[in-house]
């Protein structure tokens, strides 16, 4: 069993493959920064509701390396979405710190917009603006940064090509299928070259075949862009397929149960799901989940 049972997740250097991307691509490491994309330390979240306090997250420690792909899995209600919302800057943690590239993102319950502006978010719903065409939706982050009209259109058109939406730039979101909307949402998240991509069950609402294809494309996008990805899902096989490490969360309160490195070679194809190694990883994680009951 390759499972590492310690609840504290420390990050081990990325495989050589990742270094090749760094060397060849335009993602050269800034001088003096450690290769940590995202650091979460002692994060705790308690909601106050009318029926009393709900302890949603307890003492979450997690380090995600630069360019690493980490999946968060767990049953619904285990706090994975809450954790991702804290990482996204949408929800203030009750305690603990979130750091991106050694810069604190939450300071005394207040978000540092400059840090979160570096993050790309993809939600379960595409959340495209119906009043914008696809290209305008994708260009929204650039517009908010004051990029000129022609330039952001050119960049957004490129991104549409990256996610396979060429020919639909001037369509309205309602004219697209669910899968295509989610592609547009991913393109929008990539628009300002995010250092971290945070995805909350982005393919949860899609059918199985579309989902498989989107997973392959996401792997490709991740390989090319070299961004750090934190990917929330309730599907263990999806988590294993995509991730460098799978973080398993258990509920009430949400805490990290285990961190499992996934050493399957990349690029992964659908055939990898038929291998014994893949099956063992999935079964191992499934067993951990079942132990909860």
């Amino acid at each position: 069993m390759t499972t590492q049972q310690t609840p504290t997740a420390t990050w081990t250097p990325p495989p050589v493959r990742r270094d090749e991307f760094d060397a060849s691509g335009d993602t050269a490491e800034p001088v003096g920064s450690r290769a940590v994309g995202l650091r979460v330390a002692g994060v705790d979240k308690t909601y106050t509701t009318r029926r009393g306090d709900v302890h949603a997250l307890s003492d979450i420690d997690l380090e995600v390396g630069r360019g690493e792909f980490v999946s968060l899995v767990g049953r619904s209600g285990c706090g994975k979405t809450t954790l991702l919302r804290v990482l996204s800057g949408l929800l203030a943690p009750t305690a603990g710190t979130v750091e991106a590239g050694d810069r604190p993102a939450w300071v005394a319950g207040r978000r540092d917009d400059a840090v979160f502006a570096e993050f790309g978010l993809v939600f379960q719903e595409a959340n495209l603006f119906p009043w914008f065409t696809v290209v305008d939706n994708v260009a929204l982050p650039l517009k908010l940064r004051g990029v000129g009209k022609a330039e952001r259109r050119a960049r957004a058109t490129e991104l549409c090509a990256t996610v396979g939406l060429t020919g639909f730039e001037d369509s309205y979101p309602r004219e697209l299928s669910g899968g295509m909307r989610q592609r547009a949402a991913i393109a929008r998240a990539l628009a300002c070259d995010p250092s971290v991509l945070l995805m909350d069950e982005p393919f949860g609402a899609l059918d199985a075949m579309t989902r498989d294809r989107m997973n392959l494309e996401l792997q490709q996008i991740h390989a090319v862009s070299g961004t750090t990805v934190v990917f929330v899902t309730h599907s263990i096989s999806e988590a294993v397929f995509l991730a460098d490490r799978v973080v398993l969360l258990t509920p009430r309160p949400g805490r990290i149960r285990s961190v499992t490195p996934i050493d399957l070679p990349r690029p992964r194809t659908v055939e990898v799901e038929a291998t014994a190694e893949f099956g063992e990883l999935v079964v191992g994680l499934r067993r951990q989940l079942d132990e909860e009951d």
Binding site: S88, G89, L90, D113, A114, F116, A117, F119, L121, F123, E125, N127, F129, P130, W131, F132, L140, P141, K143, L144, G164, T166, G167, F168, S171, Y172, R174, E175, L176, S177, G178, G179, M180, L206, D207, M209, T210, R213
Partner: protein, 289 residues
């Protein structure tokens, strides 16, 4: 059957983007040409039917011409109306009252609606007054307005504005609160400024509600102005209706009402045309509702 299917396919491939990549892709559901043309066929047909029944009632059933003048007589009276040099100023006065009242209602309605929609406690506080004002039959105020503002256009403008105010205000109040949570997350996640959030999210969310209110409000403005003219003054199409009635001139009475119907329709079409230009992306524009 096959021909209509073929035609359908043709319109879709013609100059359209390449077919969707996804298996579950729904092609942009184009309305069939037949559906799009239907109102243009049914409208004139209904008009012809109405004129037919009307003529039948007059010439065959023999309804008194004081009660129902023949269509030809009404057309003749319309001709006489337009021959009268006064008619332009009557139309102008009514149009001015409607547009001024509508304009005031639009500005005040959007401002009040947006304020109440954003400030929950204020909305709760003024709720009783709003409900009271809403359930009161507002046209009953016309005599009061005549006392306060005289027989000139002012009392009619205020009546038109009062009637048009509520649909706009209520819709905007709803619209301001209807911002999608997911959209909010997107803007917050991007660290959008207050101004950018308003420009790119809150305003476009609210605009369809403004137009939904405006479409009702323009009709109400016409009602307000006409009722105002019925009760007092010596100008406008409402006054012409009353004066025709007093002269027992049924053809002229009908002719003025036809004129009012045309005026109301044109104003409504003007509002929907502006809507189509401003929010072409909205579902109500696409389905033609």
């Amino acid at each position: 059957m096959t021909t209509s299917l073929d035609r359908d396919t043709d319109t879709r491939t013609d100059g359209a983007p390449p077919p969707p990549v996804d298996a579950d892709a729904t092609p942009a559901e184009g309305e069939s040409p037949w559906m799009r043309r239907l109102p243009w066929v049914s409208g004139p047909l209904m008009l012809v039917a109405l004129l037919g029944i009307w003529q039948f009632a007059v010439s065959v059933v023999g309804v008194s011409e004081f009660i129902l003048p023949a269509p030809a007589a009404v057309v003749g009276a319309l001709g006489d109306l337009f021959a009268d040099p006064e008619i332009g100023s009557h139309i102008g006065v009514t149009l001015f009252e409607v547009l001024a009242g509508f304009g005031i209602a639009l500005v005040v309605g959007v401002a009040v609606g947006a304020t109440l929609g954003r400030i929950a406690w204020l909305q709760r506080a003024v709720q009783p007054a709003l409900v009271a004002l809403q359930v009161v039959p507002k046209v009953a105020f016309v005599p009061i307005f005549v006392i306060w503002f005289g027989f000139g256009p002012t009392s009619k403008i205020i009546m038109a504005a009062l009637l048009a105010f509520f649909p706009i205000m209520l819709n905007v109040m709803l619209g301001v609160r209807s911002v999608d949570r997911g959209h909010r997350d997107v803007m917050r996640g991007l660290g959008a400024s207050k101004w950018a959030t308003f420009r790119d999210m809150e305003l476009p969310t609210t605009l369809p509600y403004v137009f939904a209110g405006a479409e009702v409000a323009i009709v109400f403005s016409v009602i307000g102005a006409i009722v105002g003219e019925y009760l007092g003054g010596s100008q406008g199409l409402g006054y012409l209706v009353v004066s025709s009635l007093n002269a027992l001139d049924a053809p002229r009475l009908f002719a003025v009402i036809v004129l009012l119907a045309v005026l109301g329709s044109l104003l409504y079409v003007a509002v929907t045309t502006v809507k189509k230009v401003v929010i072409p992306w909205h579902d109500s524009v696409r389905t033609g509702v």
